[in-house]
Amino acid sequence: MTQRAIRFWHRGKIVEVSGVSPQRTVLQWLREDQHCTGTKEGCGEGDCGACTVVLGSRDDDAPGGLRLEAVNSCIQLIPTLDGKALFSVEDVKQPNGTLHPVQQAMVECHGSQCGFCTPGFIMSLWAHYENKYEKRDAAPTREQITDTLSGNLCRCTGYRPIIDAAQAAWQKPCVKMSRAPVRTALDELAALPALEYADGNSVNSQTFFAPRSTSELAEIYSARPAARILAGSTDIGLWVTKQLRELGDIIYVGAASDFAQITTNDEWIEIGAGVSLTDAFAALTADEPQWTELAERFASVPIRNAGTLGGNVANGSPIGDSMPALIVLGTQVVLQKGERIREMPLEDLYLGYQKSAMEQGEFVRALRVPCRDPKAMFRTWKISKRRDQDISAVCAAFALTLDVAGTVTTARIAFGGMAATPKRAAAAEAALTGRILSDESICDAMRALASEYQPLADMRASAAYRMQVAQNLLWRLWLDYSSSDVLRVHDVTAEVTA
């Protein structure tokens, strides 16, 4: 590889960026370097959405060959834009200067007050409109809108007028961007050699690599085992903006197209480590609808667009939400180091708090999630203070197989938020295995939990609450199995009494 400038599409043309630190965020570049100040900073950690921009990337399955996704510019690093298109709020107006339907609807519905959150909302709504608008009057449902807006906070309006605006925009005559010129430009960029970038600053000898294939990635990583693997940047971005950490050499996985593939056979769904959470959850939910709630509550749309399932697993946080479910489903993690590929049960990856079985220079290549077992009962539930975009106090997953008599033949139970790693509940599993699933055996399993976890207390929850909820979720499992009661507040509507 030879070093070159970062190139991407911005404001109607290909721009070249060089001489800036590879750790510079897209938001800093927009606001400070370009004086493109429509995009705001509200938190610098991916949580408020004021910085939302839309990225375009080549995708033959997407309309016009261009995939459009909202992401948080505050935690995306500028070299990751190489080969992509960046759209900010300045791009949304129509070429003749009139407001786009989502903008016009926001004005008419009084969807802005202080206006600081508004550009971010516009970008989320614009991406949604571009992706989903098919015909006039087929407005999205309220749930679709609140999901679209799960990564945008507004402190002024209370959201009702914004939700109205999102629907009103679809009553207006269609306005869609012309994707062809962008796609053509991105094709041109794709013909360039893979990016190797440094800022040319002699003090900082940090290099950014964006290999185009897994084998290239493996090779670079073997040569520089101290380098930092960068995927969606939704964990790493915060190390940069909040801890002001220097990352050293960076190997970005996002340009390796074979790293982001989902393949399925009779046994498993193999999810490449570069697959975004959005795509990964789509595949998992298609196979097993019980993933739905977790998929909706995991972070927000823009975080799921950027972040990867591989990153969630590799980061190995005790409160990572995908792992309990992946573990109970018997997921194998596929690791690669140089040319060596090995696999292991996912739970074996976690040795202790932030300690994994991955060797230096080894990376997560893929996850093999067994296909849905029609005989098994799988559930995964996340509990947090707020429904959307919150970190779990407790995240639970259960996979039970039962025989015709109702005896539990296998029980796999795992929790996040209860220990230093995502961890299986061996004693609770034992309390159920070989017994009829009943309130009695469930109560024994609940008691067993108390013996195997010492959850921590922090701002999210006390230890006692975590334990109580973990136990109660076992009880919910029982009720889910044995009754037809409504079990979650989110399934409740006002209708019953209206």
Partner: protein
């Protein structure tokens, strides 16, 4: 001059009372509205960052800033010693250092400021300090402060009647306690100031502030300058909510100090975590009470102690607690009451103004008490609420507040009646009781709560405002006033008021940024008073100009002055009609003054802050809401299913903007009482550190928390007082509509528990589960014994 032919144009609607969109809406949606950080930076601009304490209470033994000074890009590092004037940013009492001097009083308190070539460089350098402390005992909670009798201001008592005697004589008595949490403002735009040097020892400061005049004073005091050397400007804020009333001072002063020291422009934009760590929040309160009442639940006597966590300094805690005292009645008549207000000094961030300014806190107490009484008696809380309401304003019975003012505009009974009917309260209440009998896991709850909020600053002197209206010779109009725009739509309303007065279309009237060099000695845009005060002042200025134009027109056309009408961008009398622009140029040529100032001071009000008696409020704003919720008794998670709101904004200046304030206030209040929880580390190395210093850990409502059914209506009610076009203030009161959410949750928890649930705010999932009770037979873990 000849009479012009009357133009054929559709008669223009009056500007006031219309749902005109926010004056900046089109800019907001296209990213073209400039906030301070968006202004083009002047060459040589430096960026600042604070260095903060890592000790809740301690003496600084050594402060080694060598590494900070040596760091890349650093130009200057300043400490308390470098401040030429007063090291203080306390709005009332001078106990609030800009930079800690020797003593640190909370974890995260600013100690020094770095000025560097970039924002990033300043932040990096600020982390390199080596500071040693001698740790001193730290009081973190209200309870600890009460036990230690640690106050920022002395306790205050308010009395009406003989509470002890009434308690003793009451047939029934109940003791109780309650608490609610604090609240972070979470304005989307963090605190920021951009200070620019000007010649002759003057300075211009762009400050994201609700109180430009106070920023001007603070900067001047800090530098040892006079007020006329400092001008402060604010075009718009990305949200304020009270958090930029006094809290913007530290930021403005620090930026100004850098300008003074380096001679270069300085921008200080707080990182979100720093902002949430060391800027003040809503006061959390602990309440203890004893109430005496009759069999029906009518309160006869009340003794109440309310202790607020003020943090390490007084800031606005005095007036916040005074307003809390003046709202412990809410809509209810209290015959005999004794309230003690404790203003606790703790080693935590200094708490400050937040939408409602103590009002919500005081009202929380009485709502909790009434809810307790009702539950104790087994009555529907709404019945007990209605029983205790203030009397009809027409009569003279049951109208005297604890602070000696009469309630003369009471519409709460009518509003409750209307809302109970429109929300179908009784039917739904019955259905919920039936539902809860058969639903094991999900329980529902409902509550209808009223609110009454006093309008005016408690301290009479702040109830004044000024404005300047310029009519330029081309007929366009520019208005400056003392109020600031933080999203509440003040500029839009002022624009409407002036356009209305001069008969102009909205587009002819522009608002300038708020600047202390245009209108001096302004009050904070606070206490919901922005449109009341500045609207009147702007109207007064417009009227003066209108009168001169009227006189000119009358004289030129030989028509009586009282026949002259300003409408449709024209001035006319009978068939004589001249466009406004033409009349203006004519007036200019005739040397008529085309600009003027207006001033307004609220009539009728007075307040004795020693005796806590007087008439502090010009009038009251009212509201009522009915919420239905569901809770999950296994996890404590909850959801607001439906809310019905009826709110009194008098005769609305702009219904769309008012409804925006109502809904936004409601959701913000809902956040305060449900998911928004502040958590200070209770022990260990980082004792006292606020761990909820970012949106990842501090959870304000998100879009999916907005109730799926939300019926909001304005109550048809002209203000009985002569306010601007008979409207009422709307900024703060709607926050308290959220009480219905909290008490509906308590209703559901009580149903789950089978007895009165001791739910405390914020009603997080954990708090709800705790209120249901570990040992409850109805919960799964209860079964484990």
């Amino acid at each position: 001059m000849n009479a012009v032919e009357p133009k054929i144009s559709a008669p223009q609607e009056k500007a006031v009372g219309l749902s005109i969109t926010h004056e900046s809406a089109a800019l907001h949606v296209s990213g073209a509205a400039s906030y301070i950080d968006d202004l083009l930076e002047m060459q040589g601009t430096l960026h600042a960052a604070f260095g903060m304490s890592t000790c809740a209470h301690g003496r600084i033994l050594s402060l080694n800033l060598d590494a900070v000074r040596m760091a890349a890009g650093v130009v200057s590092v300043l400490t308390a010693q470098d401040i030429p004037g007063l090291n203080d940013c306390g709005p009332i009492i001078h106990d609030d250092p800009i930079l800690a001097d020797g003593l640190v009083q909370f974890y995260g308190q600013p100690i020094f400021i770095v000025f560097a070539e970039s924002h990033d460089a300043a932040r990096r350098a600020a982390r390199l300090a080596k500071i040693e402390y001698e740790a001193l005992p730290a009081l973190l909670t209200t309870a600890e402060a009460v036990a230690a009798e640690s106050w920022v201001l002395p306790p205050v008592d308010m009395h009406k009647g003989d509470a002890e005697a009434a308690l003793a004589a009451a047939p029934l008595r109940l003791k109780g306690h309650a608490r609610h949490g604090g609240q972070e403002h979470f304005y989307l735009e963090g605190q920021i100031a951009y200070a620019l040097p000007r010649d002759q020892d003057t300075m211009h400061v762009h400050s994201s502030t609700q109180h430009p005049t106070e920023m001007q004073h603070m900067v001047a005091h800090m530098l040892g300058w006079h007020s006329h050397q400092v001008s402060v400007e604010c075009r718009r804020m990305g949200g304020g909510f009270g958090g930029k009333e006094s809290q913007s001072a530290q930021i403005a002063c620090a930026a100004a100090l850098g300008v003074w020291k380096t001679g270069r422009p300085v921008k200080l934009r707080l990182d979100r975590d720093d902002d949430m760590t060391f800027t003040g929040k809503r006061h959390d309160f602990d309440f203890e009470w004893e109430a005496g009442f009759d069999q029906e639940g009518r309160i006869l006597g009340l003794r109440l102690q309310m202790a607020s966590r003020c943090g390490f300094s007084a800031d606005l805690s005095g007036p916040v607690n005074d307003r809390a005292l003046c709202h412990i009645d809410n809509c209810y008549y209290l015959d005999a009451v004794a309230v003690r207000s404790l203003r606790c000094k703790t080693h935590t961030v200094s708490n400050t103004a937040f939408r409602g300014f103590g009002g919500p806190q005081g009202m929380f107490a009485i709502e909790y008490i009434i809810d307790d009484i009702a539950r104790h008696l087994g009555r529907d809380p709404l019945d007990v609420r209605c029983l205790n309401l203030y009397g009809d304003s027409a009569g003279d019975m049951r109208v005297m507040t604890p602070y000696g003012a009469k309630v003369e505009d009471n519409v709460a009974p009518a509003m409750i009646e209307e809302l109970a009917a429109s929300s179908d309260y009784a039917t739904r209440r019955a259905a919920i009781i039936a539902f809860n009998k058969t639903s094991p896991v999900i329980k529902r709850g409902i509550a209808l709560t009223p609110l009454k909020f006093g309008i005016s600053f408690n301290a009479t002197l702040y109830n004044q405002a000024g404005a300047v209206v310029h009519v330029y010779s081309d007929g366009t109009v520019l208005v400056s006033h003392g109020g600031t725009e933080m999203g509440q739509g003040l500029y839009t309303k002022i624009q409407q008021v002036v356009a209305h007065e001069l008969g102009l279309s909205i587009g002819t009237v522009r608002l300038s940024s708020t600047d202390t060099s245009r209108v001096p000695n302004t009050s904070a845009t606070a206490a919901s008073s922005g449109a009341d005060l500045n609207g009147k002042a702007a109207q007064a200025a417009a009227i003066k100009i209108k009168q001169r134009l009227t006189a000119l027109f009358a004289q030129r056309h030989g028509v009586p002055a009282d026949s002259v009408v300003f409408a449709d961008d024209c001035v006319h009398s009978g068939s004589v009609r001249v466009s406004f622009a033409e009349l203006v140029i004519e007036a200019y040529r005739a040397r008529v003054q085309l600009w003027d100032s207006g001033f307004y001071s609220t009539p009728k009000i007075h307040w004795n802050k020693e005796t806590l008696q007087g008439k502090p409020f010009f009038y009251y704003a009212y509201g009522a809401s009915c919420s239905e919720v569901a809770i999950d008794t296994l996890t404590g998670e909850s959801k607001v299913l439906r809310v019905d709101i009826l709110h009194d904004v008098g005769k609305s200046l702009n219904p769309a903007i008012d409804i925006g304030q109502i809904e936004g206030g409601f959701i913000q209040g809902m956040g305060w009482l449900t998911t928004e929880e502040l958590w200070f580390r209770p022990e260990g190395a980082q004792l006292g550190r606020n761990m909820t210093h970012a949106p990842s850990t501090y959870k304000i409502p998100a879009a999916s928390d907005c109730p799926p059914v939300m019926n909001v209506r304005l109550f048809d009610n002209a203000n009985v007082e002569e306010t601007i076009h008979k409207s009422k203030a709307v900024g703060e009161p709607p926050l308290m509509l959220a009480f219905s959410v909290f008490f509906a949750l308590r209703d559901a928890c009580s149903a789950a528990r089978g007895s009165v649930a001791p739910l405390q705010a914020p009603a997080t999932a954990e708090a709800i589960l705790r209120a249901i009770g570990d040992m409850s037979e109805n919960t799964a873990t209860g079964r484990l014994g």
